[in-house]
């Protein structure tokens, strides 16, 4: 990444830290939602954007993570343990869900993961003895961590932001390691990758499992953020929304999920002035953007920077 790119990242980080001091509670709730959705979208970006395995199951993993924390914390399990359990459970379930990806690809895999999301939704709705069914679970407490009470909106936002920072650094580390190169190889040419010694089976399962665990971590923060979870929150709509975030931001671009989640969370709010038509305007904007810039917002920005550079080179060459 260029120096200018790092400068932008630093400015964005400063803005993210400063933002809650200038926002009302609803604004803080919105940016907290952005942080949580970004974590889930980073996971999907890993599975879909880098490793090329299309998944419509990320919303289900957010649900599994959320219910894990919502069910464990009232039993006296410390939040950090419940949080880790949510990630581990989703890692294990994601690993198992990865097996179909070894046999089917593209839209067939999308259907397999779609079926999984429906299955999770049905379990959450019908297994009332465990999940309280359509009545959901209320009052998941926000944790006290080593004396730090995160009950307030701002404190909880900083907890979410800290988790996002940690998970982002871990994901970035993984993607710049040989694993990142292997994931891209898996996306671009799995047969060639296999012939070069890559155990594509293990990397595919790992891409699913790690991506899913990030969904679980997002869910583990979502439950104490909204303090009321019910099955409809984790139906197919959420999976599609997360997919939209990854694609709109820039699939396979590390910062794509950050931008995509920002647009998906904030744009509908800004478009509320259009009242009942905001979803139509939002959908139309997404359709136009996808038609003219399939590489997402960051792809568009990269293209603009490239054109500017070329333009300045040409201008410099003219005597």
């Amino acid at each position: 990444m260029t120096r200018f790119g790092w400068l932008l990242v630093a400015l964005a980080a400063v803005a993210a830290v400063a933002a809650p001091f200038f926002l009302k509670p609803f604004g803080i709730f919105l940016i907290s939602t952005w942080v949580v959705q970004t974590i889930a979208a980073i996971g999907l970006n890993l599975t879909l954007g880098y490793a090329g395995q299309i998944s419509l199951a990320q919303g289900a993993f957010v649900g599994i993570g959320a219910y894990t924390v919502a069910l464990l914390t009232p039993l006296g399990v410390p939040f950090l343990v419940a949080f880790a359990a949510a990630g581990l459970l989703c890692f294990a379930v994601g690993w198992v869900l990865g097996y179909p990806a070894l046999r089917v690809q593209h839209h067939y895999l999308a259907f397999v993961t779609l079926a999984f999301t429906t299955l999770v939704f049905l379990v959450l709705r019908n297994e009332e003895w465990l999940t309280n069914g359509i009545y959901g679970i209320t009052g998941t407490p926000r944790p006290n961590l080593f004396g730090w009470k995160t009950g307030g909106a701002r404190d909880f936002y900083f907890l979410c932001l800290g988790v996002l920072a940690l998970l982002s650094v871990a994901t970035w580390w993984m993607l710049r390691s040989p694993w990142g190169r292997a994931f891209v190889a898996l996306r671009e040419n799995p047969i060639r990758a296999l012939s070069l010694g890559l155990d594509t089976r293990r990397y595919t399962l790992m891409a699913f499992a790690i991506g899913s665990s990030l969904g679980g971590f997002a869910g583990a923060l979502y439950a104490p953020l909204v303090q009321f979870i019910e099955p409809n929150s984790f139906s197919l709509g959420l999976s599609f929304n997360l997919l939209l975030m990854v694609i709109v931001g820039g699939s396979g671009n590390f910062f794509g999920p950050f931008v995509g989640a920002l647009i998906a969370v904030l744009l509908p709010e800004w478009l509320r002035i259009t009242q009942g038509y905001y979803l139509i305007v939002y959908a139309a904007a997404v359709m136009v953007m996808m038609a003219f810039c399939p590489a997402g917002v960051l792809g568009l920005a990269e293209r603009a920077v490239l054109l500017l550079r070329r333009g300045s080179k040409v201008a410099g060459a003219i005597p």
């Binding site: 390691s177 190169r181 070069l196």
Partner: protein, 247 residues
């Protein structure tokens, strides 16, 4: 001396079609074996059976005496068997350097150590040498997808050699390459062979390329071996002329 590659009574059928029919041959260390034959004679199917991409219907494959029939391509690669494909198989969005590092990284340490180790898996030096050897230095940081077809063919071959394999199977390396680039490719393969005493098996239709590169040639037609011998003898063989080379 044990053969580097030994194929015994290999047979592969697709439904009622026999693609490879009772094929047996050996490749000795340092040899460059050419496999020629008309389209549909079973050359690539034979390669795919040897390399674990297809499961043979019958027969055995041994690498340096060890039975490897049905072994997965990634495990075979880690045993020192490498290949190129008939159609271009580079990773277009990775740079030339990253394509080469990728081609060698799975031979370094374990999966866990690769996660926590250096981003280049300690292979930048090897990649630079391979880039220089295949005369791609000026393109090292370019995306592989932006290279010309011939340059991508060179990269494809370089990737097959990156992990220092004992045996390399090249499937139509000259296919679609212009004459200038073809000369360069042949010269580089010769140089690599001379430097490392590497063992090659080459499928090729470009007869001049085969005659200049290979030390022995095997001719397939309708899935069977119809002739085997030195390149100059194969060229004069009436059965081969009838079945493949023409008059």
């Amino acid at each position: 001396m044990t053969a580097v590659l030994e194929v015994s009574n290999m047979r592969k059928t697709f439904g009622g079609i026999v693609a490879v029919d009772d094929v047996s041959f050996e490749v000795r260390a340092g040899e460059i074996l050419g496999i020629i034959g008309p389209n549909g004679s079973g050359k690539s199917t034979l390669f795919n059976c040897v390399l674990g991409q297809l499961q043979p219907s019958a027969g055995d494959v041994r690498i340096e005496g060890n039975l490897t029939t049905g072994m997965r391509p990634c495990d075979l690669n880690r045993l020192g068997v490498s290949r190129t494909f008939q159609l271009l198989q580079v990773f277009p969005q990775l740079s030339v350097r990253d394509n080469l590092i990728l081609a060698g990284q799975e031979h370094q340490g374990s999966m866990a150590s690769r996660l926590f180790g250096q981003p280049d898996a300690g292979l930048s030096g090897d990649a630079a040498r391979m880039i220089e050897f295949f005369r791609l230095s000026h393109l090292a940081d370019e995306q592989a997808g932006s290279l010309s077809y011939g340059q991508q063919k060179l990269l494809d071959a370089a990737m097959a050699f990156m992990a220092g394999p004992r045996l390399v199977l090249l499937d139509e390396p000259a296919g679609g390459v212009n004459l200038t680039m073809l000369g360069q490719l042949r010269e580089r393969l010769h140089a690599y062979h001379a430097e490392r005493n590497a063992t090659f098996v080459v499928i090729e239709h470009q007869m001049e390329f085969v005659m200049a590169l290979c030390t022995r040639v095997l001719v397939l037609a309708e899935g069977r071996i119809i002739a085997e011998g030195k390149p100059q003898d194969i060229r004069r063989n009436p059965i081969v002329i009838e079945a493949y080379l023409g008059h």
